[in-house]
Symmetry: C2
Subunit: 209 residues, 2 copies
C-alpha cells in the first residue's frame, strides 16, 4: 500500500451528503478512504435506492466498478471525509510497483467475492434479528481494529433506514428487532448510537438463534 503514496492525490474535505463519485461519472480512479464514512448505493429505476455497503478509513472504493466505463454506484459521504484518489490508468502501466499492487488488488477481490458469497449464503438462513446483530458486531470489530471506537458503543454515521436497506429489511423490522434485543438486554438503543451490552450473548445469537 505504501507504493501508492507516490501516485495518489489526497482530496477533501467532503461534507455529509457530498458524492465522491456518481454513476454517471466516467470510471477512472479508485479512492482510499483516509477519514470519514462513505456509503455506496445504486438508485433503482423505481425510485428506490439500494445500499450496497459502508466504507471506513483504510477501505478502498471503486474496485467494484472495474471493467465498466462508468462507476457502478454512487459514493455518498456519511461523515466528513478525506480520500486518496488513485488513477486507474496507473494499473495499466507496467512499472514494478504496479505489478505488485495488481496482485494485491486481485487478492482483495478474492476476499470481497468470498465475503459477498458468504452474505448470500448466510443471510437466507438467518432472521432479520441475526443479520442486524451480525452487522453491528462486524461494525464494532471494524471500528475497533481501526481504533475509531474504544468501547462497544457505536456511533452510527448511517441512518437506521440505510441499515435496513443494506440488510434487506424494512425500517419497521429494524425498529422492532432493536426493541426486542434491548428488552433482552443484549444491546442498548440510542438515538444515533447502539451499544452492544452483552457481546457474549450477541455472538451466540448470531450463530444460531
Amino acid at each position: 500500500m505504501h507504493a501508492l503514496n507516490s501516485v495518489t492525490l489526497s482530496k477533501g474535505p467532503y461534507k455529509i451528503g457530498d458524492f465522491i463519485y456518481k454513476m454517471e461519472n466516467q470510471f477512472k480512479s479508485l479512492f482510499i478512504i483516509q477519514s470519514g464514512v462513505i456509503k455506496l448505493e445504486k438508485p433503482l429505476r423505481d425510485g428506490n435506492v439500494y445500499v450496497t455497503g459502508f466504507y471506513f478509513p483504510g477501505d478502498i472504493i471503486g474496485l467494484e466498478s472495474a471493467g465498466g466505463a462508468k462507476y457502478s454506484y454512487d459514493a455518498v459521504v456519511l461523515d466528513q471525509a478525506w480520500v486518496c484518489e488513485m488513477p486507474y490508468h496507473y494499473f495499466e502501466s507496467q512499472e514494478p510497483s504496479s505489478v505488485l499492487l495488481k496482485e494485491h488488488i486481485i487478492s482483495l477481490y478474492g476476499q470481497k467475492l468470498r465475503e459477498a458469497d458468504r452474505l448470500l449464503a448466510h443471510d437466507r438462513y438467518q432472521t432479520g434479528e441475526q443479520r442486524l446483530l451480525q452487522f453491528l458486531e462486524m461494525l464494532c470489530k471494524k471500528l475497533f481494529t481501526q481504533n475509531l471506537e474504544k468501547t462497544h458503543k457505536l456511533q452510527l454515521p448511517m441512518s437506521k433506514g440505510d441499515i435496513a436497506n443494506y440488510l434487506g429489511l424494512r425500517p419497521e423490522s429494524i425498529s422492532r428487532a432493536l426493541q426486542k434485543l434491548q428488552r433482552q438486554g443484549v444491546i442498548r438503543n440510542y438515538k444515533n448510537a447502539i451499544e452492544i451490552v452483552d457481546m457474549k450473548v450477541a455472538k451466540k445469537m448470531i450463530c444460531r438463534l
Copy 2:
C-alpha cells in the same frame, strides 16, 4: 484469452460427480471450462451445503479463491467436462502477456462483484418466483450466447434441489413456483428441462410481479 494457450494444460474428461478441485486442496490454478457444466459449493458445518454458482464453457473458476491458501469451494462436475488448467503462479510472473491478463482478470472481478451485489440487491425485493424466472432467463441467455441451446427449452444439468439451494429457497418452494408459472402459461416444466414459453411475460414478471 489467446495468450493463455501457451501456459495451460487441458484436462479431462471429468465425469458427473467428479471434483475439479476441493476445499482442502492448495489453491494453485484457475480453470477455464472448455465443455461441460460445473457447480461450486461449500459444505457448511451443519452438514448442509451452499451452492454458490453454476459455470459453463468459457467461464473461469478459481478466481473466487485468490488471496487464500486453499480453494474456497468444491468444484463439482454436473455434466461431463473438459477444463484448461492455468497455474496461478503464472500471474506472479511479469511477462507482458501476464500483465495484460491481469487487467482482464481484474475487469472480470469487477463484473463478478457487481453481479454479486446485484443478486444481494434484487433478491431481497423479489419473490422466489421472480428469482426463479430470473435464473432461468439468465441461464437461457448464457446458453444462447454460447450456442449451446438454440431454443428456449433448457436442459438442466443441475437438480432442482441445487437450483433451490442456489436461489436460497427450499425445494418445495421451487416446485410450487414452477407449478404456478406453468399454470400461468409462462413456462413448461419437464423432467430435466424447462421451457420458457412466453419470454415477454417472463421478462415483465422479473421486473415487477
